[in-house]
């Protein structure tokens, strides 16, 4: 049995006509792996985390964490999980140390064991020298670190992280991602949600791509890329009529799809090396002046675009 088992999970807000945020989701997470839910805003990632955290009751289906059902054994589930919410859910007028001590108490830690663990976590998140400072004086990245630290105090078996790098600087983001890898190396199972393809690609053992509450693909990075034919993305900037250019390039051999995005032509091609010369040739023949080009190897963005017809950041 997998450490997390999700079976036909469903959540509808304000039934019968309300939004279906999660629609028949099924997946499993092996102990010790990093599993990512990748999808745009509104895909149902946060709702899924909320259900698995026992914050929301599912409208249908069930899930288990470490063998405990989220609907029938909530206390056991909560003992096993650590949740890092998307927002900074901490007390700004308390110090870092006070925040961690409080959350540790909520997980049942007390006395010298709590004090020692708080110091340990402060060291883990590299904020020992700022432990007496109030959170309101911290930068966004520092707050995010404390936000993560508060979920680690009780040494959870699985950590749920809901878009933990939103709105922070690249340096802090790097520190968080490296920290997550360290935790995983120490044995913590990770469920990570993000709309950043690069993060899912870098961190995850397996990725589930979500859209409109459903899982549309699942597998390792290589499996997912291969599943859509390993197509590369070619982005072309033109100083010409973009729609006419797209219509022209759609007919070029090797081009599987073409759409406009941010004023550029975005094409999926089966073989970039073969397709690019053809694209230039066609442009030259039709009087289309190409002013810029970018070629990206097959990636999750491509996968999402292929499966949904939309970019991951739409």
């Amino acid at each position: 049995m997998r450490f997390v088992e999700v079976t036909d999970l469903r959540k509808q807000f304000d039934p019968p006509k309300g939004t279906v945020a999660v629609d028949g989701l099924s997946f499993g997470i092996e102990q010790g792996e990093i599993y990512s839910l990748l999808g745009p805003n509104g895909a149902g990632k946060t709702t899924t985390i909320s259900i698995l955290s026992c914050l929301l009751r599912p409208s249908g289906g069930d899930a288990s964490v470490g063998g405990a059902s989220i609907t029938k054994q909530q206390a056991a589930v909560k003992e096993a999980i650590g949740v890092v919410p998307q927002e900074i859910a901490l007390y700004p007028d308390l110090t870092a140390q006070e925040n961690l001590a409080f959350w540790g108490k909520m997980y049942g830690l007390r006395g010298s064991a709590l004090d020692a663990r708080v110091e340990e976590v402060l060291d883990l998140i590299d904020l020992t020298d700022r432990k007496k400072d109030r959170l309101e004086d911290f930068s966004g990245g520092m707050k995010r670190r404390v936000n993560i630290g508060a979920a680690l105090l009780h040494k959870p078996r699985i950590l749920f992280l809901d878009e933990p790098t939103v709105g922070i600087d690249p340096q802090s983001r790097r520190a968080i991602l490296d920290g997550i890898k360290d935790l995983n190396r120490q044995g913590t199972t990770i469920l990570y949600t993000t709309h950043y393809m690069e993060e899912a690609q870098e961190l995850s053992d397996r990725i589930a791509i979500m859209d409109h509450g459903k899982m549309i693909a699942e597998g390792t990075h290589e499996e997912l890329v291969k599943s859509v034919g390993g197509q590369a993305t070619v982005e072309l900037t033109v100083d010409h009529d973009l729609d006419r250019s797209l219509a022209t390039w759609c007919a070029v051999e090797g081009v599987t799809s073409a759409q406009a995005e941010d004023g550029r032509a975005r094409l999926l091609v089966s073989d970039a090396n073969a397709a690019v010369p053809r694209l230039f040739e066609t442009a030259s023949r039709d009087g289309i002046r190409i002013t810029g080009i970018n070629v990206a190897e097959p990636n999750l963005e491509t996968v999402f675009l292929t499966l949904t017809g939309r970019a991951l950041r739409d």
Partner: protein
């Protein structure tokens, strides 16, 4: 169980780090009580500041009147020990100086005893000589007291003068012609009139009053105590709403949902939040009571009734706050609801008129609020009432507290189930 206290203490700590909240909870009621208490002169009985009197006595002795100056009698009456709390009399050299004192605002009234007053009256002739009260038109109480005292003396003088005049006439009618004898008879009559008026007053007026509870008669209650009680109760409700609103604040900023993901039962979390409201308000009340004792010298009463009223006051403030918060969906909405409701309760309950029972329909209507019952209880305590005297207000307020808290608990549990 411990987690209830951890959550409560966390909120209490946060509240007491919030400077604006502390200002509202502690500074505002004390400042208001200080301002109103100072305006009415302190805490030991209803009193006014002594009225400054500039007194000039020009009624100097002559050979005839030596030792019996009416001016001296008036001076003695105005400067007597019994009036020193209400009249601050300073004798000045001349009439002009006395008038100047009033014109400059240094005195509320100038009492000018004219020269030759005693001589004029001792000639047993009608005289228009009179004592002049030159008063500040903006002041009434102090000059009024001075006027009353002088009128008493004048009444005695006039009575003695009438007795002397009558004695002189009777002596003359009886054939006594020696002026010295007539004068002696007149003087004796006058002296006897004054002496008799003081020892056997004759026709008197007796003051009676309705029977009231002994507790209400034992202590004189000042102004600061009732004012601070009224403000303390009002600001306790406001403080309770501020702390209770943290339930909605935490729901909005994510810490409450995060708490729900921990292995801490939701009932425990909510209980901790409710306890924090009660603790903050209780601490607030204790601080205000101590401040009232040491800053204003207020004698709150016995520990039993004081303790009981403090605890139920905190409980009802917490209960109402939790109940009203459970009806709101956002912190902004909560602020509007509680401000409005608590202001109306304070107005109807009488918080802004202190503990005095206004009587009439207002006295009845205020008992529809817990504020009115608390003020009733505190009024009794301030006057020396025992725990038994405040039992009814305590029970009624406790009932208010339990009902509102229960309703708030039910609604919150339903919302966060």
């Amino acid at each position: 169980m411990r987690k209830i206290f951890y959550i409560a203490f966390k909120d209490v700590r946060r509240t007491f780090r919030d400077i604006p909240a502390l200002a509202t909870m502690l500074a505002a009621p004390l400042i208001i009580a200080l301002v109103l208490g100072s305006a009415f002169g302190g805490s030991k009985g209803f009193s006014i500041a002594p009225t400054k009197v500039a007194l000039v006595n020009l009624d100097t002795a002559t050979t005839q009147t030596a030792g019996n100056q009416i001016g001296d009698t008036i001076v003695a009456a105005l400067t007597s020990a019994g009036l020193k709390d209400v009249l601050q009399v300073e004798q000045v050299a001349g009439e002009q100086e006395a008038r100047s004192r009033v014109d400059n605002g240094d005195a509320a009234v100038a009492v000018i005893i004219p020269a030759g007053l005693t001589a004029a009256l001792s000639q047993s002739q009608a005289t228009t000589t009179g004592i002049v009260l030159y008063r500040d038109p903006t002041k009434t109480i102090g000059p009024g007291i001075a006027n009353t005292v002088i009128q008493r003396v004048v009444a005695q003088v006039n009575g003695a003068w009438a007795a002397a005049g009558t004695a002189a006439q009777l002596a003359t009618a009886a054939g006594i012609t020696d002026p010295a004898v007539v004068t002696q008879l007149a003087s004796t009559a006058a002296t006897k009139f004054v002496t008799q008026a003081q020892s056997t007053p004759g026709l008197t007026v007796a003051a009676r009053e309705p029977q009231v509870a002994a507790a209400e008669k034992t202590k004189v209650v000042g102004v600061a105590g009732p004012v601070l009680v009224g403000m303390m109760i009002f600001f306790m409700f406001l403080a309770a709403s501020n702390v209770a609103r943290s339930i909605l604040d935490e729901d909005a900023n994510g810490t409450l949902p995060r708490l729900f993901t921990t292995p801490t039962p939701r009932g425990v979390i909510l209980a901790g939040k409710f306890l924090s409201v009660l603790l903050v308000v209780l601490i607030q009340a204790i601080v205000l009571l101590i401040a009232g004792r040491f800053i204003f010298g207020i004698d709150w009463g016995g520990p039993g009734p004081v303790g009981a009223l403090t605890v139920v006051g905190a409980a009802v403030a917490a209960g109402f706050a939790v109940c009203l918060m459970s009806l709101a969906h956002t912190p902004g909405q909560a602020g509007a609801i509680t401000s409005g409701v608590f202001l109306v309760m304070a107005l109807v309950g009488g918080n802004f008129v202190g503990t005095a029972n206004p009587g009439g329909i207002f006295g009845t209507v205020r008992l529809f609020t817990p504020n009115g019952w608390l003020l009733k209880g505190w009024d009794s305590t301030l006057r020396g009432g025992s725990l038994g005297d405040v039992l009814l207000p305590v029970v009624v307020v406790l009932a208010f507290a339990l009902v509102t808290l229960a309703l708030g608990v039910v609604l919150f549990r339903r919302r966060f189930s």
